[in-house]
């Protein structure tokens, strides 16, 4: 009886070993992206509008969903254009653009000067950028917490674990419990770069989703969490007003105007970068994104419409 069991066990191990040895070469098949064979057609043949055009976009994970939605709507009206959108992160997108693998890099941060220089060196073209949406984050506390406003620096110190009691920021004598997202979340990175500017405290509790963060803060009077602005008006939590620095005015993110005017500090424009001034189908797609119809989709997907400053910024690329 016992011997048989060990034979079975040995059999499993043997089978596993065989599969391991024979299967080693198979890894490449796992690459996820389907690549149209003529990626940069969109740049080169702008004149013949009815010829089928393929545009490749890649980069920021926070932008993937909204850009894919925009592309879908655009393709419905322009069946000759096919647009593929992939993620990977802003850095991945920018380096793919420099290498010429994609046409547009989605990036939630501006390109660095060194990257712009690389692009010019590799592609012989200047970098042009379009801002097509605004991303914003609200800082949430329990509704019974008397604290109403904080500066960006204070929130950063709280999330770095340097401030651990609400009394240090003008609240009650009560421990702060940190709630946040996992490291692969776009908001995690946004918040880390803009607010924390260092390592998150180890004592931050990572919730599986934004609604879990809200749920946790509702149940914890000393809790603090961050979430997309859309979550800020849930019952049981309130969004803190945030001031850019000490002495400057704090703005409430639940007032749409404070976000669209750019006064609320925890926002960032979402960029799309291209090598060379956009033309043809590509230009047409960008114009659709910043049009009223495009901006309505942006709002539906949980982001904010671009501001007057962004429209001004876009002039260089779109006019």
């Amino acid at each position: 009886m016992n011997q048989k069991r060990w034979l079975t066990f040995a059999g499993i191990v043997f089978l596993a070993a065989v599969m391991l040895l024979t299967g080693c070469g198979g890894q490449q098949a796992a690459d996820p992206v389907e690549t149209p064979d003529n990626g940069d057609a969109g740049d080169d043949t702008p004149e013949e509008a009815q010829e089928s055009v393929a545009i490749m976009l890649g980069g920021s994970d926070s932008e993937v969903n909204v850009v894919a939605r925009l592309a879908e709507e655009y393709m419905n009206d322009n069946p000759h254009v096919s647009i593929a959108v992939t993620g990977g992160g802003s850095g991945v997108g920018i380096s793919s653009l420099i290498d010429g693998d994609i046409d547009v890099a989605n990036s939630s941060r501006p390109m660095r000067d060194s990257e712009i220089a690389d692009l010019e060196a590799n592609q012989g073209e200047d970098a042009y950028a379009v801002r097509f949406a605004v991303d914003g984050v609200a800082v949430l506390v329990n509704e019974n917490n008397p604290v109403e406003e904080l500066t960006v620096d204070q929130i950063g110190a709280i999330y770095r674990g340097e401030i651990t009691n609400w009394s240090e920021v003008g609240g009650e004598n009560m421990d702060i419990t940190l709630y946040g997202r996992q490291s692969t979340s776009g908001t995690y990175v946004f918040f880390m770069e803009l607010v924390v500017q260092g390592e998150y405290s180890e004592r931050k509790r990572n919730m599986a989703g934004t609604s879990d963060i809200v749920e946790a803060v509702i149940g914890d009077v000393g809790g603090i969490g961050y979430a997309a602005i859309g979550y800020a008006d849930e019952d049981g939590v309130k969004a803190l007003s945030v001031a850019a620095g000490e002495g400057s005015q704090a703005y409430d993110p639940t007032v749409l105007e404070n976000v669209t005017s750019g006064n609320y500090p925890l926002t960032r424009p979402l960029y799309q970068y291209i090598a060379g001034k956009p033309e043809g189908a590509l230009l047409d797609f960008f114009l659709f994104e910043v049009s009223e119809a495009g901006q309505a989709i942006v709002l539906q997907e949980g982001f904010y419409p671009i501001t007057a400053a962004d429209i001004d910024f876009n002039k260089a690329a779109l006019e």
Binding site: T177, E199, E202, R205, G219
Partner: protein, 292 residues
């Protein structure tokens, strides 16, 4: 002489049996091949030594699983501490004391408990147990290792009850009769004779319950807070290996170091569960008293 149809059926059943082996081998292969790039890059040591799981670091990413292993240990041990005594006592009652109609009523209830989806239990933990823990222990948040341990204990209990009951029932009648004939009470018979005689079976039941507890993901993910720091006590938030994988795997960049590091965590979890189940299996089949 076997008829043709019997031969065909034999082959079909053999294929079904082999399929299980193939699935297991396939899973093991996937785990090994996907964790290999991370192991080749860093070796096994950084994963198993104290440090921080910080793949999305501001500075240099680090991939220590140490605190998560401890978190898994805390939740599992916490779960067993109350699931084993209650489970074994319930099993002893069912096997030795309960009237047949009580057994008829009780056993389906145990099965229903086993069938509750883990996400439902997790929600129960979040909405009911968390506020309770926070009030009883006067701490700001009830999202703690204790909460996870309670729920995982509840989930492991049906396994423990069912298997322990089988083990106790399998103790030969002569044992009980001898004890009762010598003037032992029912209580003495159960505690001094029947349960010790079924000891290896009960241990196996507990180990299989433990295997269930170690791998449990959704419930733990929802109620333990998933903090990566070293937990100070049962009333602190923890992250287990399974929850750690589930949190990150959804939107990790495909084929990145982080992605492969998650497979290392999976491989570790697989190894631990495999060893626990193997031990239980060995114990079940080494049951000398009963087989005599």
């Amino acid at each position: 002489m076997l008829s043709l149809s019997e031969k065909v059926m034999k082959v079909i059943f053999l294929i079904c049996g082999l399929a299980i082996v193939l699935f297991l081998a396939g899973i093991l292969f996937t785990l090994l091949s996907n964790s290999w790039p991370a192991l080749r890059e860093m070796g096994l040591v950084p994963f198993l030594t104290p440090g921080r799981w910080n793949p999305g670091a501001y500075g240099e990413p680090t991939y220590s699983l140490f605190n998560m292993i401890y978190g898994t240990f805390l939740v599992t041990v916490g779960a067993l501490v109350f699931a084993v005594p209650i489970g074994v006592a319930a099993a002893a009652y069912l096997a030795e004391i309960a009237a047949p109609w009580e057994r008829e009523l009780f056993k389906p209830i145990v099965e229903i408990l086993a069938g509750i989806p883990s996400v439902v239990l997790g929600f129960f933990g979040l909405v009911v147990i968390a506020p309770l823990i926070s009030r009883i222990f006067n701490i700001p948040s009830g999202i703690t290792a204790l909460n996870g341990a309670i729920l995982v204990g509840i989930m492991a209990m049906p396994t423990i009850i069912t298997l322990a009951e089988d083990a106790i029932t399998a103790v030969p009648k002569e044992y009980r009769n001898a004890s009762l004939a010598l003037g032992g009470t029912r209580w003495q018979t159960i505690w001094k004779i029947t349960v010790p005689a079924a000891f290896s079976g009960i241990t196996a039941a507990s180990l299989l319950g433990m295997g269930r507890a170690i791998g449990e993901t959704m419930t733990v993910l929802m109620v333990t807070g998933n903090m990566i720091a070293w937990p100070e006590s049962f009333l602190d938030s923890v992250r287990t290996l399974s929850a750690g994988i589930a949190i990150d795997i959804g939107d990790v960049v495909f084929n990145s170091t982080h992605f492969h590091a998650l497979f290392v965590a999976g491989l570790l979890l697989f190894t631990i569960t495999f060893i626990v189940n193997l031990l239980a299996d060995i114990l079940i089949h080494r049951n000398p008293e009963v087989n005599k």
